[in-house]
Amino acid sequence: MAGRAALITAAMLFMALFLVCPLVIVFSQALSAGFFTYITSLNDPNVGSAVLMTLTIAAIAVPANVVFGILASWCIARFDFWGRNLLITLIDLPFSISPVVAGLLEVLLFGSNGLFGGWLEANNFQIIFALPGMVIATIFVTFPFVARELIPLAQEQGNDEEEAAVTLGASGLQIFLRVSLPKLRWGLLYGVLLCNARAMGEFGAVSVVSGKIYGSTDTLSLAVESLYESYDMQAAFAVASLLAMLALVTLVLKAALEYRHRDELHATRKAKAKS
């Protein structure tokens, strides 16, 4: 059993070094000048506006992906048609594209030299370097999250209940609200959780399309960079600690979901590993 102890020790040391240390240093640096300074640096109007910006982006991007995920899973998992796998591949595409390229795509569409740049300028619409561009970039990078949870789960659960509901005379909306949604709810919540964490934390894509104006178009994740680059380490880590807490809450909720609703989520994890 010495081998087993050695393996466990090695694995846990690796995790401590690469996962625990970064987490600990965020809080230790944030509190390095004492709790009072910590609160003061968070009680800054620029941080407040970054929180608002982050929440606004997530409040648009997450529901957009929920609606898309539900519709995509409905047509892909409940029906059998030609090109289904191609559709799944395309939905997965944003996962293998660099966030910076995702931002670049928005610049090529909406930037002043972009495809719609001239028209947008003539009509006085600002997309790049403003909230709309940041929202679209966030939708792009979080695009697969909800759909990717729901499709395999719905496929594994099958259509029997839905078909029974149809024969009993239920309408499409009734079937969805009273049969399908309850079946999928934990998977949906799981997807929303991951989607939200990414939407609130996205850095690369949003960084390309934001004006990087601290206090106006900075999200929390961008504010971390702004503060760090201006050598205000303590404040940078204070803001980072907010995001780290969000990450920890996400992990706890995720673990709780996996523990309590393992069977309803298991399909998702297995299908992913096999694909």
Binding site: F18, L71, L87, P99, V100, V166, A247
Partner: protein
């Protein structure tokens, strides 16, 4: 025409779709397609179209610049290094978490997903502070003359952090499904622990390990946020390709940024294709 009048609710079905009594296909399918086009396919097509308008000379004029090639080399080698480290460490962690029971296992299992949940800029400043010459990890290493931060090794460290869950989470379910009986049988027939691992366990998890490796590698190549703080960002030495795109954009060199973006896209596609072929080969060979 006679078939279409079979019943009041009957409509002729298109051949590309199996008939179903469930409603809502048309609506959900068309919205899915439109949204997919607007958000993903259309913008990618626009980028490729912009690249095509550069012409071969314009495209290769950008791509073959020493700085682009040098940064590509940095990106690929560091991503390979990080994915390789994680192939070993991730396999070990996945094995320990599924096969053994020990105090703190559930917390460790949840913590594996930290890199998915922690914003990359937070990871970036945390790692760069840890590994800086006066940091918690950087200072002890400096005693031995090892510098991590602001060198290519720093890039590898950030990539290891960011891609660890990909390997663990792809390998874990396969280890869960392994039949312990096979290992016991091999043990009864006199195989050593190493032989059991090499001939019974490893072949079974290899396809998943390769998939995880590919996912980790792709993620490392594209990663930006966690890397830029700890990398030295010296062109051709410790500058990654996504950062080069960023600096092209900052200088309003949209053609350069577009060409490099297309190059990155091509590299990740080639990579995923290669690994898929490799996986198919492994599956054929081991009859799984």
């Amino acid at each position: 025409m006679s078939a279409t009048t079979a019943g009041p609710g009957f409509r002729p079905r298109l051949a590309w779709r199996k008939p179903s009594i469930l409603p809502g296909f048309g609506l959900s399918f068309s919205i899915t397609l439109i949204w997919l086009f607007v958000i993903v396919v259309g913008p990618l097509a626009v980028m490729l179209w912009f690249t095509a308008s550069l012409g071969w000379d314009g495209f290769f004029g950008v791509i073959l610049r020493p700085r682009v090639l040098g940064d590509l080399r940095v990106s690929v080698t560091t991503a390979l290094a990080a994915a390789s480290v994680n192939a070993v460490a991730g396999l070990l962690i996945a094995w320990v978490l599924t096969r053994y029971r020990f105090p703190g296992r559930r917390i460790a299992d949840a913590l594996v997903d930290l890199p998915f949940a922690l914003p990359t800029s937070v990871a970036g400043i945390a790692l760069s502070t840890l590994y800086a010459p006066n940091g918690w990890i950087g200072a002890p290493l400096a005693v031995f003359g090892i510098t991590i931060a602001y060198t290519p090794s720093g890039i590898v460290v950030a990539m290891i952090f960011i891609s660890l869950p990909f390997i663990v989470r792809t390998v874990q379910p396969v280890i869960e499904d392994l039949e312990v009986e096979q290992e016991e049988a091999a043990g009864l027939m006199g195989a050593s622990a190493f032989e059991i691992f090499r001939r019974v366990i490893f072949p079974a998890i290899l396809p998943a390990l390769l998939t995880g490796f590919a996912l980790a590698f792709a993620r490392c190549l594209g990663e930006y946020g966690s890397i830029i703080f700890i990398a030295g960002n010296k062109p051709m030495i410790s500058e990654i390709l996504p950062l080069l795109i960023m600096s092209r954009l900052d200088q309003f060199d949209y053609q350069g940024a577009t060409a490099i973006g297309t190059l990155m896209l091509a590299v990740s596609f080639l990579l995923l294709l290669a690994i898929n072929l490799l996986q198919a080969w492994v599956r054929r060979r081991h009859g799984g």
